[in-house]
């Protein structure tokens, strides 16, 4: 029974994706739209494979930016949220700003950061870090603030130090919320990185998408978009796997 449902949850989405692409392909062939207008999936996949050598350096640039940004944002987000939630006054003072940071599209800072830091990797990573950090921080704060009182009392009753309480009780209690934050941060990091590349510089998948669309090379443009989603999906999947490994208990 369990294996059967596991098989369906793998087969069903695969079938759906195949159906979507087949329908798309057929629609293109029947209507005969030119490929610069709407490319056929077969052309897109063909380009993804054949021109892989061309895309690879840009994939690596994007991947590097997303990963470094994400990996910096995780500890920063966790440390800041730990600090904020450790002090009631700080918690009250900062809580609107935590939401504020998340709701502000930090990509609006791109033009100004470009001026200050140039088009390079450091500027891109900076934008990714602040956007991803904001989400991780917000979710981790939620997690830390929602630790049940009775668990705090348990740790107090055995005289646990702040550090012991944090490692043995608070961090695991907030784990689910933290992972939700990481998953959102992965999405935000990818989206933000592409937006930055879109607006600045000529390396990275984002820049390629815009370059190809300007030359009406729509299949190539779509190939890059697909590579972006693959990066996002891999990160999303990795986090889900980590979640299953780490948060393997039920409340």
């Amino acid at each position: 029974m369990k294996t059967k449902s596991r098989i369906t949850s793998i087969v069903a989405p695969v079938v759906t994706f195949v159906l979507i692409f087949v329908a798309w392909e057929i629609a293109c062939r029947v209507t005969g739209v030119p490929s610069w207008f709407v490319p056929k999936p077969s052309e897109i996949f063909h380009s993804m494979v054949v021109d892989f050598q061309v895309y690879l350096p840009h994939i690596l640039v994007t991947l590097q930016c997303v990963l470094i940004g994400f990996l910096i944002a995780i500890p920063v987000g966790l440390i800041v949220s730990t600090l904020i939630t450790s002090f009631p006054l700080l918690n009250a003072a900062m809580s609107p700003y935590i939401t504020f940071l998340v709701t502000t599209p930090l990509i609006s800072l791109i033009p100004l950061l470009m001026l200050a830091m140039g088009y390079g990797m450091s500027m891109r990573i900076t934008v990714v870090v602040i956007q991803a950090f904001a989400v991780i921080n917000m979710n981790a704060c939620t997690g830390f603030n929602n630790v049940p009182t009775i668990r705090r009392e348990l740790m107090q009753s055995v005289g646990a130090s702040r550090l012991q309480t944090y490692w043995k009780m608070i961090l695991p209690s907030a784990a689910t919320d933290i992972i939700t934050g990481l998953r959102l941060a992965a999405i935000f990091a990818t989206t933000t990185c592409i937006s930055v590349e879109y607006n600045a510089g000529n390396t990275g998948l984002g820049s390629q998408i815009i370059k190809y669309s300007q030359y009406m090379k729509t299949p190539e443009s779509f190939a890059c978009i697909f590579y972006v989603t693959i990066i996002g999906l891999i990160m999303y999947a990795l986090i889900s796997i980590i979640q299953k490994k780490i948060v393997n208990w039920q409340e």
Partner: protein, 262 residues
């Protein structure tokens, strides 16, 4: 469980706490004054960071220029967002009716969430033309999947006892969905909507960046070109205000609707 202890009850009572308002305002004042002093003392050039006072002055002075763009972006975000909410929820409701459909569609929805929709802007221009109002579509396709994903999550995680309760009183499928599944998923629906409002703002501003011509995103770049950095920062703050405003409205509605949540 039935016996609540007095300690917790005191804490649980959510009273209006002035610290929650005063403390953030103090922080705001510290940031404002701190920046003002820091920037003046170290003579930081205004193209790196103008002083808060200058930002406010500049923004007020040029407000008649900014206003149409502000209203445009606000319109795009609000319309897109208002379409994305029912669209996302309806799609989730549809998928959740069939177990197979949930399994089949969930990865597709995740795939859509992950796709940065601004990459489609040049193509959309190609397909639909250059009307700036089409940016609504970007907002819709950026916000709908995330709302759908969270809502679906809520719809598919209903405790079995509650569904059994519905069956025991002979509720129809529609009744069960509306009174049990939907109400039960409310917290997740609202999480989705909140994320949707973040995604909407991001979508609208990045659309402004890419297709230019109108909107606050475009205005930031225009001001920068003419070295009007105060106004640029002013626009960023206005965007942030739109974001936080939407988020606050959603949170307030959530507090009214989801009364049982803590």
């Amino acid at each position: 469980m039935t016996q609540s202890n007095p300690v917790k009850r005191v804490k649980k009572k959510k009273e209006f706490n002035p610290i929650n308002v005063i403390a953030p305002l103090v922080v705001l004042a510290i940031i404002y004054v701190g920046l003002e002093i820091f920037l003046r003392v170290f003579n930081v050039s205004e193209y790196v960071m103008p002083t808060p006072t200058h930002i406010i002055q500049g923004t007020i002075k040029s407000f008649h220029i900014i206003l149409p763009d502000f209203l445009f972006t606000l319109k795009i975000i609000c319309i897109g967002f208002c379409i994305a909410i029912p669209a996302g929820i309806l799609l989730a409701a549809l998928f959740s009716q069939f177990d197979l459909l949930v399994k089949a569609m969930q990865p597709v929805v995740i795939w859509l969430v992950i796709t940065p929709m601004i990459t489609l802007i040049p193509l959309m221009t190609l397909w639909l033309g250059t009307d700036p109002n089409l940016r609504v579509i970007i907002v819709i396709i950026q916000a709908t999947p995330i709302i759908c994903l969270n809502t679906l999550n809520g719809f598919t995680h209903v405790e079995r006892e509650k569904l059994e309760l519905a069956r025991s009183v002979g509720a129809t499928k529609l009744q069960t969905f509306l009174s049990i599944t939907f109400m039960n998923a409310m917290p997740q629906v609202f999480t989705g909507i909140k994320l949707g409002c973040i995604f909407s703002t991001i979508g609208a501003v990045s659309a402004d960046f890419v297709s230019r011509g109108r909107g606050l995103g475009d205005r930031i770049i225009k001001f920068m070109k003419y070295s009007n950095f105060e106004e640029s920062y002013g626009c960023i703050i206005l965007i942030a205000l739109i974001g936080i405003g939407l988020y606050t409205i959603v949170s307030m509605i959530e507090k009214r609707v989801v009364l049982w949540k803590k």
